[in-house]
Symmetry: C2
Amino acid sequence: MSALLPSVPEKTIERLSEYRRTLIKFHKQGVTHIFSHVIAGIHGITAVQVRRDLMLVGFSSDAKRGYEVAELIDYITDLLYGQSVMNIAIVGMGNLGQAITKYFNSKQLKLKITAAFDVDPAKVGTTIDEIPCYSMDEFEDVLSNNEIAIVILALPAKAATELVVPIINAGIKGVLNFTSAPLNFPQGIVVENYDITTILEKVAYFVKANEENEAN
Amino acid sequence: MSALLPSVPEKTIERLSEYRRTLIKFHKQGVTHIFSHVIAGIHGITAVQVRRDLMLVGFSSDAKRGYEVAELIDYITDLLYGQSVMNIAIVGMGNLGQAITKYFNSKQLKLKITAAFDVDPAKVGTTIDEIPCYSMDEFEDVLSNNEIAIVILALPAKAATELVVPIINAGIKGVLNFTSAPLNFPQGIVVENYDITTILEKVAYFVKANEENEAN
């Protein structure tokens, strides 16, 4: 990820996002307090790591009762999103685009997918999962007029590179790129290039490494 | 990711996977040699990082001509996959499952999705994108009989937790979990819990952090 560098590491932000979802589940079940080792057990990490992450963002626990669940949810939510709702647009309403949209629609996040784009004339002008689907010709206008902050790219790799300039022109602040084409943006625009192949190749590598370890 | 710890860091493996895809593109265009700063520019990182990653896995360049492209592709391929093809099964053939399957079918990887599972009677017994789709009742048997090494979970979170024991029983070596339920497995099984919400929340956090930096 390229971005200006704030003081909280990326990995900590990822884990806080994960803790938050776990905490919400417990909160719904009526749990009011939780210890670091319980959170740690669910996420397969150490309690020290959980305490370090929360200490790093300035949240402390009652040593006897653990973390106050509702308070911690609010704290992480505020840290991740602040007070504002962020509008997101998604480019490409194929299987991946629709999977992502459905998934986010089903959650109550302050991140909202509010616009979609596709080249398919059968999709343009319709509403998919309550999201209006626009043509690529309207790209810059729709982004600007709807105060979109983040764009998710779920289209073929070849078409993605052509969107770099329009994305800059539209004043977009963050890009989540699921295509296999790595994209670069000027400093000040946050980019996460996320090709699923990379994760799967990583899993495969460590599976192979484990097998070699066992064989030795 | 929980796994036995080999000497190459996860982030290096991710980058090698990404370099490899870039190198394959150049190779197809007839490029025979490439300098670290060219790879670096495409991936938005420093040339020092590229050289460090390749040095770490024991690959060196001709200082005058740069890295030999075909040789480097083979080297990384061998490191990531070894000589063997790894069979993968995917659980859940909804939008996400189908997006992943189509995506991998279109690439020539040594990772192959060879079996799919779903609860939908309309899908079970059919072939989707040339992959046979089985019912969940056949889960353990199909995994064992088809020498599946890795399972991709693209089903609803609630159903994912029920698969932990069957996955262990079937002798699976790696799990790529796209659900929002973090799963833990015994040591020796590689797990990557990958909830898309986490990446999007991370991008949102850094967008917000950039805005706050600019305001100060």
